[in-house]
């Protein structure tokens, strides 16, 4: 094989980030739009207009989430097993939201009764707010370490509870995530809609941008004093994926360690701020493209910040730090990572090609008057 095991693990760590970022940057604006729906669109015509800005694309965007799940399963099976079973009820809430969403999109405008449509609008708003919030809460818990351990057969056990997930730092992360996706939804509406909804989106988007900047800064200070995790035994990056063969300690400020050794990494969190500022400027001066690029950059950089702060940790254990999942001991086999990389290299460009084509076909603003019977 061309790549050695260490290289493939690094590539798949990066690809994990790419998939999560792709999900947040594409499906993120769908969620943001859904979360903003009651606020930016007041009449039924405006609601249909706003829904139709994402109507033809949300289904494809959502596949990034499904693909993310599949890729974690294939490339990081231990992470897939521990995180999804550990965050069981949180996952159930996300799945409920994601079940309701496709149905709400499809069914909302299929009946004329206002009560019917109002119920689906509420469902759509729920399906945007809940996942956005929970994804952030989950990341907040991962940064603090999650209470899990393995037995000698590598059966995972999670010893926390659902309500323990809702701690102050995690809730802060949840709000960062929600604000950042609402900003992203607002900048999308800025370029895809016109009239009153676009105007209101501009107002809410500017508020969201300020909230992102403030909360992300508070989160940064919080993390700099929080306990981070560090491997203290020598690890073979080519060794078998067995998370029981190392020792890990937790120390305050350890999540800043990578920035100390690689100061260039500071550019990543800085880009998180810069993106939000650009989005704010774009909204203020009504430059749609600038605001959308800014929110994209912000979303991508904030997610990447989490990844580079924790590297090589992926999922630290707060109760048995030695059992933490890291880049070097929780991946699939060398062979599987190679095959999956091959599949990704072949298919990802094709996906990007036809996705770009779809967006090109749908290019242009959606007006209230465009909404016709063929649409949602």
């Amino acid at each position: 094989m061309i790549f050695d095991y260490e290289m493939l693990r690094l590539i798949w760590w990066a690809l994990l980030g790419v998939l999560l970022v792709a999900f947040a940057v594409t499906d993120g604006f769908d969620m943001g739009v859904a979360a903003l729906l009651p606020a930016v669109a007041r009449s039924d015509g405006q609601r249909r207009q706003v829904i139709n800005t994402v109507g033809p694309v949300w289904e494809g965007n959502q596949v990034w989430f499904i693909l993310g799940g599949g890729a974690i399963f294939a490339a990081w099976p231990a992470l897939y097993a521990v995180s999804f079973s550990g965050f069981y009820l949180a996952m159930f809430l996300i799945l409920s939201a994601l079940i309701i969403r496709p149905v709400a999109f499809k069914f909302r405008s299929k009946r004329d009764e206002p009560a019917w449509r109002a119920r689906w609008d509420a469902a759509l708003c729920f399906s945007g707010v809940v996942p956005a919030l929970i994804f952030g809460v989950a990341v907040g818990n991962v940064l603090q370490g999650v209470p899990f351990h393995f037995d000698s057969s590598l059966r995972p056990f999670y010893t926390g509870s659902f309500f323990a997930l809702l701690n102050p730092f995690a809730l802060l992360c949840g709000l960062v995530s929600l604000a950042m996706l609402m900003l992203h939804g607002a900048t999308w509406l800025q370029i895809k809609a016109d009239g009153e909804p676009a105007e209101r989106a501009r107002k809410y988007g500017m508020i969201a941008a300020v909230v992102v900047i403030v909360l992300f800064a508070i989160g940064g200070f919080w993390v700099s004093n929080m306990d981070g995790y560090r491997i203290v035994t020598a690890m073979d990056p080519q060794g078998p994926s067995n998370p029981l063969r190392k020792e890990v300690v937790s120390e305050a400020g350890m999540w800043l360690n990578n920035y100390r050794t690689q100061p260039l990494l500071w550019l990543v969190p800085l880009a998180g701020f810069a993106g939000a500022v650009l989005a704010l400027m774009g909204l203020f001066w009504r430059v749609g493209a600038l605001s959308f690029l800014g929110s994209k950059l912000s979303v991508a950089a904030i997610i990447t910040t989490v990844g580079v702060s924790m590297f090589p940790m992926i999922l630290p254990s707060s109760t048995d730090p030695g059992h933490s999942l890291t880049v070097w001991d929780s991946s699939s086999s060398h062979y599987t990572l190679g095959v999956m990389l091959f599949a990704t290299v072949v298919f990802l460009p094709i996906i990007l090609l036809y996705t770009a084509w779809v967006y090109k076909v749908l290019w242009g603003k959606v007006s209230e008057s465009d909404v016709n019977k063929d649409m949602y």
Partner: protein, 526 residues
């Protein structure tokens, strides 16, 4: 030891969500192709009635597709939430086809399905047709990868247990992809989907014809369904026979169960058409047998024997004892990774490791199992014969009925005979049958694999997550409420749009349309 209630609830939730998901999948598979065929006719002939048909069936397809996508998301994540040990144990093999499904197939159909609905005015005729075909292709490729994953659960080829990582790992991806079980399952399943789509179109068209509404659309749709359905129904039975052949080498127990065959018969074995399998007495009462047929279907020879249930049980006991040797060696390797004797002992017996794990239902350390517990584990390897025996027979009966139905329908529409009203009624009432057959088929496949989640490798009960009973009660209750509400809404919407019918804005003159139609309908008084 693993809590038995947790296992039962996890299995119940998986069965519920998977069977519910599969109410939508076959219709997506079949209807997508039929819509693509209708739109092709529109593009080739330019007659707008075919575009109206595409739009009308496309609308019903869209409602069904949304439900399929929504319930499919749960399937992608449920292995992690509820089957965490399973996910760790086989993720190296099983995760890859799921991920490739996303990359190669689901992305294609989900990205383009939006253009199918929104692109009528934005795309050229041929471009839109291409989109429709790609959606159909995407949904069928999606089935391919899912069935490759499922096929590996039935016949775990191309992999080994790695004692360093305590899990199954791939040795040969080509073997996983070209697994004969997976290939046979794929063609059988998509063909069953085509039958479902054909029955759906046939039944609703028959309903319109009985009511005398939307005749132009209904007659053409009936004709498309009759031809497409006949080809599909023939394939489903022929290719189903292929999957019967494929399981003989690796799922002999399932075959013996389906047959209610307690003891090995002399070759070629006879096929039991009717009987009442009795687990206690280890025999099948009131048997009505057709000599030779089973031996021919399963082995395609006159001389190969098919082992009976009791003989296979005796074999299981041997495997359990060999598996214990592997288990013992593995325990040594856990504390002393490099121990050469333990490695060698493990390699010798590793293919039977799963059989030793069966004992974990009764004792934490299988090496301490009593002889009686081993007998109990052997008993566990016999699933419910009665359920499998009858599920299989009902499924096959529906399959043959479909051939008869579509054969007659095709004869009526193509040989220009009159389509009688009784046949339209029969077509309408056939509507639920393909779904019943599909669910029974999955019951045979999945329930018939028990006690294994991965045949011979991992017992089902070991695969569960270590979660609380209250957690799973909440999610199970939540899914039941959510799915019931959605089912009611979905059925009501479908009925609304079926009653409302297509929008008749076809530019064609109705009188001219009827003149060009097959006399099968022109003569009928509907």
């Amino acid at each position: 030891m693993i809590d038995a209630t947790l296992v039962e609830l996890s299995r119940a939730q998986f069965a519920l969500t998977a069977m519910y998901h599969f109410l939508f999948v076959p219709l997506t598979l079949g209807l997508s192709f039929m819509i693509a065929i209708m739109e092709s006719v529109y593009v080739m002939t330019g007659r707008t009635i075919w575009r109206d048909m595409t739009k009308f069936w496309g609308l019903l397809f869209g409602i069904n597709f949304a439900m399929g996508v929504a319930t499919g998301i749960v399937m992608e994540f449920q292995f992690g939430t509820n089957w965490a040990y399973y996910s760790h144990y086989v993720g190296d093999v099983f995760g890859a086809p799921l991920a490739i499904e996303g990359l190669m197939a689901f992305f294609l159909e989900a990205t383009l399905v939006g253009l199918f609905f929104f692109g009528w005015d934005k795309l050229g005729k041929v471009q839109h047709l291409a989109v429709t075909w790609l959606v159909a292709l995407g949904s069928n490729l999606s089935a391919l990868w899912i069935l490759i994953a499922n096929g590996w659960m039935q016949n775990p080829v191309g992999s080994f247990f790695n004692p360093d990582t305590m899990r199954m790992e791939v040795t040969d991806f080509a073997a996983v992809i070209f697994n004969p079980v997976a290939q046979a399952k794929f063609v059988h399943t998509v063909a069953a989907g085509y039958v479902t789509g054909a029955v759906f179109v046939l039944a609703i068209s028959a309903y319109y014809l009985l009511r005398g509404r939307y005749k132009a659309l209904a007659k053409r749709s009936f004709t498309v369904a009759a031809s497409f359905g006949l080809a599909a129904a023939l394939s489903v039975v022929v290719l189903g026979d292929e999957s019967g052949y494929a399981i003989t080498d690796n799922q002999k127990m399932k075959l013996a169960m389906i047959e209610g065959m307690w003891h090995t018969e002399e070759a070629p074995a006879s096929f039991t058409l009717f009987g009442i399998p009795d687990r206690e007495a280890q025999e099948t009462h009131y048997e009505l047998q057709i000599p030779w047929v089973m031996g021919l279907i399963a082995t395609r020879s006159f001389s190969k024997e098919i082992p009976g249930i009791m003989e296979l049980a005796a074999l299981s006991e041997m495997h359990i004892r060999d598996g214990l040797l592997a288990y013992d060696a593995l325990e040594t390797l856990k504390v002393d990774e490099a121990n050469p004797e333990a490695r060698e002992a493990f390699l010798r017996n590793q293919q039977y490791l799963g059989y030793a794990l069966l004992l974990k239902k009764y004792v934490d350390d299988p090496r301490e199992a009593s002889d009686q517990q081993i007998v109990m584990a052997v008993q566990d390897s016999l699933p419910n014969v009665f359920a499998l025996f009858w599920s299989f027979r009902f499924m096959v009966a529906i399959g043959f009925y479909m051939i008869a139905l579509f054969g007659l329908a095709f004869y009526l529409v193509s040989l220009r005979r009159r389509v009688p009203r009784w046949f339209l009624r029969v077509s309408f009432y056939t509507l639920p049958l393909p779904w019943i057959a599909a669910e029974l088929g999955w019951l045979v496949a999945e329930y018939g694999r028990q006690p294994w989640v991965i045949e011979g490798v991992l017992p089902t009960f070991l695969g569960v997550s270590s979660i609380g009973i209250s957690d799973i009660l909440i999610s199970l209750g939540g899914f039941m409420i959510l799915y019931t509400v959605l089912a009611v809404i979905e059925v009501r919407l479908m009925l609304k749009y079926i009653r409302q019918g297509p929008e008749e804005d076809s530019g064609d003159d109705p009188a001219k349309l009827d003149a060009g139609l097959s006399p099968a309908f022109a003569k009928s008084k509907d």
